[in-house]
Symmetry: C2
Subunit: 403 residues, 2 copies
């Protein structure tokens, strides 16, 4: 077992900085820079939205070449650099160039991430000044870097793990941001994971893709998906350890799970974390469809907000998901920690309400962490989604985001 901690001390060969350069209106940190002393194998997983931001196109092109030579990642907030045309592509490239000049590498060794409002050009003067400032502030400043990539997040999200295998000891660490526009297949969600283990680019890509599939890609805040979603993995080999692939995968996946769950727990306006498991659907794809339909249902999400064990809305959402679902074969259960003890309640069974205590159901759904299990009784398809409720604060945050 690997132990994930929600902080980052230091990762050999990597430095980080988070600065304020005027991209956010107040004096919060708004630009992050991560630099490796030596060349990294790099991998990325990107949004599947057909609307792709300029930095996504830039990074994908850079990584497609497959050459293992990334030195830095720059992240700006304030503007997503999406729907910005050729000028946006040029600004992404110029941002990389500024970093390259400060770090002493080429623009082709710098990955660029942006998050913020769609359709505004990057304020390049501020970006340039911010990069100069960040380059001068590099150190073990992971907390500042994690703060600097936040948008509507209420807290920084970082995690790390120390792994010991036959070859030695190495670190994996990551920072992430999210909050809204979160759905499977990525969302306004950024993640940068670094390790001092030695990986080839193809090893890095395989491990990242597998880790993201069962973590970042199974979270839903509101079902929306941004043009910017990106998770990057940089491996600089500074520990000298060539990791056991299985052990590395296990640790990376656990780290991704921690980071992805942190996004949901800090979902815009979220008051509850809901782990939704769909079992025995006709197949895995059907299970994912059912889970996603439930997790994005406004009626289900508001019921969770109201701590109302309204199983009828969950069954009705499953019934409209467009894949096989037979209420007469389904079972729905909820569980959580009540008064320090794990308690479960069967709410719905074979087409009708189960004979349950409303008081117990209310206590279980009233907890901040609720496990919901829907057994479809049809096949062997399975899926898990981590989601949150839909609150007044979500509406407040998103009704006035640009103002």
């Amino acid at each position: 077992m690997v132990e994930i901690v929600s902080s980052i001390e230091a990762v050999a060969g990597f430095k980080a900085a988070g600065v304020h350069c005027g991209l956010k209106k107040d004096d919060r940190l708004d630009l992050a820079l991560i630099v490796s002393d030596c060349s990294c194998a790099a991998a990325g997983v990107f949004t599947t939205n057909q609307l792709q931001a300029a930095p996504v196109r830039y990074d994908q092109k850079l990584l497609r070449r497959g050459s293992a030579s990334v030195r830095a990642v720059i992240v700006n907030t304030g503007s997503a650099n999406a729907c910005t045309g050729p000028q946006g592509d040029e600004n992404a490239r110029a941002t990389a160039q500024y970093v390259a000049e400060r770090v002493g590498c080429t623009a082709d060794e710098v990955l660029v991430l942006s998050t913020g409002v769609i359709g505004t050009q990057l304020p390049m003067d501020k970006i340039r000044a911010g990069i100069a400032q960040a380059a001068g502030a590099l150190g073990d400043n992971w907390q500042a870097a994690a703060q600097a990539i936040m948008t509507t997040d209420t807290r920084p999200k970082l995690a790390s793990v120390t792994v010991t295998d036959a070859g030695g000891v190495y670190q994996i660490a990551g920072i992430t941001k999210g909050a809204g526009m979160i759905a499977p297949n990525m969302a306004t969600m950024l993640g940068v994971i670094v390790t001092d283990a030695a990986l080839s680019p193809s090893q890095a890509q395989a491990a990242l893709s597998a880790g993201v599939a069962v973590s970042y890609n199974q979270i839903v805040v509101d079902g929306d998906m941004s043009p910017n979603d990106t998770v990057l993995l940089l491996a600089n080999g500074a520990s000298g350890v060539k990791p056991d692939v299985d052990v590395f995968q296990q640790a990376l996946t656990a780290l991704c799970e921690r980071l992805a769950q942190a996004i949901v727990r800090d979902g815009e306006g979220a008051t509850k974390f809901i782990a939704l498991e769909v079992r025995r659907a006709s197949d895995d794809a059907a299970a994912r469809k059912i889970a996603h339909t439930i997790a994005t249902s406004a009626l289900v999400k508001t019921a969770f907000y109201g701590s109302d064990a309204n199983w009828g809305r969950i069954i009705a959402a499953a019934g409209r998901s467009g894949v096989p679902f037979d209420p007469s074969r389904a079972q729905l259960q909820m569980a959580s920690a009540v008064n320090g003890r794990r308690q479960a309640v069967l709410l719905f069974n074979a087409g009708v309400p189960a004979d349950y205590s409303e008081a117990l159901a209310a206590a279980i759904i009233g907890a901040p962490d609720v496990q919901v299990t829907l057994d479809c009784g049809l096949g062997s398809g399975e899926a898990t989604v981590w989601t949150c409720d839909l609150s007044h604060d979500y509406v407040t945050i998103n009704g006035a985001y640009r103002t």
Copy 2:
């Protein structure tokens, strides 16, 4: 042109009543009965949710026989009679039987509609007493009937039209309810339309299906869909007019549009009515997918609530809709009445923001009725959806519906 009015005077051979029999907690009307003096041709369009309420199964079975003999429709609120097992089926049948005894027909001549909470059995004593009361109150009480089918609706919804064609003069009139759980292919939405024109059952079904397809089936409040959604059409022929099929269709469709739009305008917590038109998508199915993805996006809906012309969220929603969409070929426009004059603004054009006035955009989206047009520039697919915004009140209403 036919003129639709938002009231119902009288329809030859039909009587209606709305009474209070204790299904709602306060003293609001909660049970409606509609009776025809003579036998009607009847047609229905039902939820496509795989979770079907008992009354839906009951009505479908009755109408499948194709014999033109319906005399009455009974509607209860308070309980949806869904997820109620064999007892629920029995209660739907018993409800029809009570009505039959009072009206002087058979249970097979009575259609049953239910709306309310999922998973509770109908309180049959109250239903029986309510039916007796309603049977004694029959008259031109369409306003009361429309009130009696409301759940979270804030106002009754009724409409009628007088049609004159070569054969004579006839009426079409309808009452409907909705508010939440509204999505294409029906939702917690009930509609009962009556006409004194003479139709065969197959004419009635064809006309209703065609009318619903371009009205009820293109409304979205929250994307959820209930197990109870039903629209019925009863034609008793009391006017003696065999209508021209095209004229009848035109009038029925216009009536359905008025009723369906009334549902969206009274959507749970709605402050804005949004007519969303998707043009030149790759095909009609793709256009519908794009329109539905935009109309159900929590980010888009909260932006409308905040009167924020946040076109980026609309383009991003289109981009994740899973059908072909190329931002570089798309145009997005909004229009509304500002200071009594129709004004339009082009927000997005060929991959980048258009050069528009933020003040004009804010004024346009600030109106209570907004037209949004997304031209995809790809093919000849078209779709229209009528939807509303997502407000604090939606969360309040649905976070505490059962309590």
